[in-house]
């Protein structure tokens, strides 16, 4: 395991991140957008763990932070879903391009 280079992890997480960005920008369904958001967060979590392991072995802050971010993102997702449900109840619609009332 130790012979896997740092760059490989970073490439994986970069791919995940930009897949998330792409999904965020191109999907219309809010739930899919939410999933893309999770993808970006997970990419960041991977970076935390990897940097901790390679740059500061023997310390655990990066691991803790990853766990912490997972917890936060879970809470955030719950709120986001609540918002989406409310939007659905009010507008009968969860497609972002049709939920565009907040403008000039």
């Amino acid at each position: 395991m130790s012979n896997i280079p740092l760059a490989a992890y970073l490439v994986i997480s970069a791919i995940m991140f930009f897949a998330g960005v792409y999904g965020f920008l191109s999907r219309r369904n809010m739930l899919t957008i939410l999933m893309s958001l999770e993808l970006m967060l997970n990419a960041a979590d991977i970076n935390f763990v990897v940097f901790n392991k390679y740059l500061f072995p023997g310390q655990l802050e990066g691991h803790f932070f990853a766990l912490f971010a997972i917890g936060v993102s879970a809470a955030e997702t719950a709120i986001a879903i609540a918002i989406i449900i409310n939007i659905y109840r009010n507008l009968k619609n969860i497609y972002v391009d049709e939920v565009n009332k907040m403008k000039f």
Binding site: V21, F24, L25, V96, D97, V99, N100, K103, F104
Partner: protein, 636 residues
């Protein structure tokens, strides 16, 4: 010591708050009763204060001391300069307490009958309380700034009481006129206060007027346009007083102020507020007489001219309240003149004492005249003399009390006006024969116009037909008349110089029979002429008016002072000062601001389409922005 005097001032304020806030929930009679009871307490305390002060506490070592039962620092500017609020008792403030609370109580009582059934009865009593509070606060002021604050407060209460019938356009116009004219004069007052306190470093009356104080002790040598700054300051302060006391040329508001309810005219525009200017000069008298004698001389002449002018105008007016208003102006001018011719200390200060004496007696008999006029108006429902005549049969009590007041103001002994007017004439005679002649002639005119008024109301056309038979007023209105008539008879016998003098030292006066007999003579002549002309309806008065037509018409139009003021303000100031300023404001100041808003508006209209409402557009912009920034950081 004597800290109960605080109640005298605070109680009317409390009543104002209670009546003002809860008045609409009370029955009118209850509100009136609360106001009257409160004022009775105030009056009783004032009498007690006066008795204590004049008879025991005040006199230390043969002269009257100034007592400050209460004083606290309200606002501090510098170490020395601070505005205090407090109570100062000295002979004139104690005297004023008695005068104000007596007249105010009588007016409260009188209004019960006079204002019965009026809309806003509670509001009326609340405002009366506010006025009493402000006026009492004014006279006990410890420093000139406190006086100024209360000075404005009486202005406000006068404004709201003149405009009490606020649905009547003439009343609204009159209240605005009164407020604006007096406020305009008060501007000079304020400048005077600031100038005086700038050079002396204090507002306090005691320090200002003390002989070793910052002004009289070390004379200020600074001058401005050839006049010492003290003279300037005192002149400006007097202009403030002239505005309140309706001296020429600021008198124009007082006749119009008669639009208010008659008891209000009796209280504010005859007995108390309009003498505030006299009181102000008396309060700062040492400064005038020792620090600025040239100003005092001007004051004397302004007073003399105003007295003559107002007396002439009073002879031609037909609205009974306006006659009384001009008579008030004339009598206040008497007081001002008396102050102007006065010296300092002992018999030299006779004018000062005479002025305060006349202030007191005038307050009582003029309040009586106004309340009598109120009773007449109440019976006839008109202000015009032509609607009256022969009323002595219907209003016996009003008739007798009115006659007493007329005799008093005409200077016929043994009524109070004789004594005080005599002292003024003596003081003028000793100082300036020209002013004496002026005042002497006025005394005759006063007797003439007062008896013209008297005859035209109560005599004249005795068989006049009235739509409703006039009837005597209810008890609540006749009791104040009788009480004030009794005061008018007795106040003349008070040995005033024993209590009030320019330097606090009592001195002896006696009636100068040479002058007194002359003044009685001229009074009697005035009365006789009035009797010939007006006792029975005849054509003599028209003939006389015809023979001096020019003067008569000019006097009837009040010597065109209103027109002059209107010309100055409307034609000159509005056109040549206000209009350019308004143009500058509208086009330059507003224009700059409008330009800014127009630009903002234009730009925002152009860029508002960026706000599409599509989240992904925003996210796209955000991410692209992030990419650009990161690449800048990385590659540069």
């Amino acid at each position: 010591m004597m800290s109960y005097t605080l109640i005298i001032v605070v109680l009317p304020l409390l009543m104002f708050l209670v009546l003002g806030l809860l008045g609409s929930k009370m029955k009118p009679a209850v509100a009136g009763l609360i106001g009257t009871l409160g004022l009775s307490v105030v009056a009783a305390l004032s009498y007690f204060t006066a008795a204590t002060y004049f008879l025991s506490v005040g006199k230390v070592g043969g002269s009257f001391q100034t007592i400050m039962p209460f004083n606290f620092e309200w606002l501090q500017f510098t170490d020395k300069l601070h505005i205090d609020l407090g109570i100062m008792l000295d002979p004139i403030s104690v005297m004023m307490l008695v005068v104000i609370s007596t007249v105010s109580l009588m007016v409260h009582l009188f209004s019960f009958g006079y204002m019965k059934g009026e809309r806003g009865f509670q509001r009326y009593y609340a405002l009366l309380s506010l006025f009493s509070f402000s006026m009492l606060g004014l006279v006990v002021a410890t420093n000139i700034f406190q006086m100024y604050i209360f000075w404005e407060l009486v202005g406000v209460s006068s404004y709201s009481l003149i405009g009490f019938y606020y649905t009547k356009p003439s009343a609204v116009a009159a209240s605005k006129k009164a407020f604006i004219v007096t406020r305009f004069a008060d501007l000079f007052f304020l400048i005077g206060i600031l100038a005086l306190s700038f050079y002396s470093g204090t507002f306090n009356f005691q320090e200002l007027t003390s002989q070793t104080g910052p002004i009289l002790g070390q004379p200020i040598t600074a001058t401005f346009m050839g006049w010492s700054v003290v003279s300037w300051a005192m002149m400006l302060i007097f202009i403030g007083g002239a505005g309140k006391s309706a001296m020429m040329p600021f008198h124009i508001w007082l006749p119009d102020a008669m639009e208010g309810p008659t008891p209000v005219s009796a209280l504010i525009h005859a007995a108390t507020m309009v003498v505030a200017g006299v009181y102000l000069v008396a309060r700062m008298f040492p400064l005038y007489v020792l620090g600025a004698p040239d100003v005092l001389n001007i004051i004397a002449y302004i007073g003399g001219i105003t007295a003559l002018f107002a007396a002439i105008v009073a002879c031609t007016q037909t609205d009974i309240k306006r006659v009384l208003a001009f008579s008030t102006i004339s009598q206040i001018a008497y007081m001002i003149t008396a102050l102007g011719v006065s010296g300092y200390g002992g018999h030299e200060g006779l004018g000062y004492m005479a002025s305060m004496f006349h202030l007191t007696t005038h307050a009582f008999f003029k309040a009586l005249l106004f309340l009598g006029a109120g009773a007449v108006i109440h019976a006839v429902h008109s202000n015009e003399m032509d609607a009256m005549g022969g009323l002595r049969k219907y209003l016996p009590i009003t008739h007798i009390t009115f006659l007493i007041a007329c005799l008093s103001i005409s200077g016929i002994p043994p009524f109070s006006g004789f004594f005080s007017k005599d002292e003024i004439l003596v003081a003028a005679f000793e100082k300036d024969i020209l002013l004496f002649g002026c005042l002497y002639f006025c005394a005759g005119l006063t007797a003439f116009y007062m008896f013209r008024l008297y005859y035209r109301i109560f005599w004249g056309d005795s068989n006049k037909e009235y739509k409703h038979t006039p009837h005597e007023s209810p008890l609540s209105m006749t009791i104040p008349l009788i009480f004030l008539a009794a005061l008018t008879v007795v106040t003349g016998f008070i040995p005033f110089s024993k209590f009030v003098s320019s330097d606090g030292m009592p001195f002896e006066t006696h009636i100068e029979w040479s002058v007194a007999s002359l003044s009685i003579l001229v009074g009697v002549i005035g009365i006789v002429i009035a009797t010939i002309m007006y006792r029975k309806e005849n054509k003599i008065s028209d003939k006389v008016a015809g023979s001096i037509k020019g003067l008569y018409i000019a006097a009837y139009h009040k010597f065109y002072f209103d027109e002059i003021w209107l010309f100055v303000t409307k034609k000159v100031i509005f056109n040549y000062v206000s209009r350019p300023i308004a143009w500058f404001d509208r086009h330059v100041v507003d224009g700059f601001m409008n330009l800014q808003s127009t630009i903002t508006n234009f730009v925002s209209r152009k860029i508002k389409f960026a706000q599409s409402g599509e989240i992904q557009d925003y996210a796209w912009a955000f991410i692209m922005g992030a990419v650009v920034i990161v690449s800048l950081l990385v590659f540069i």
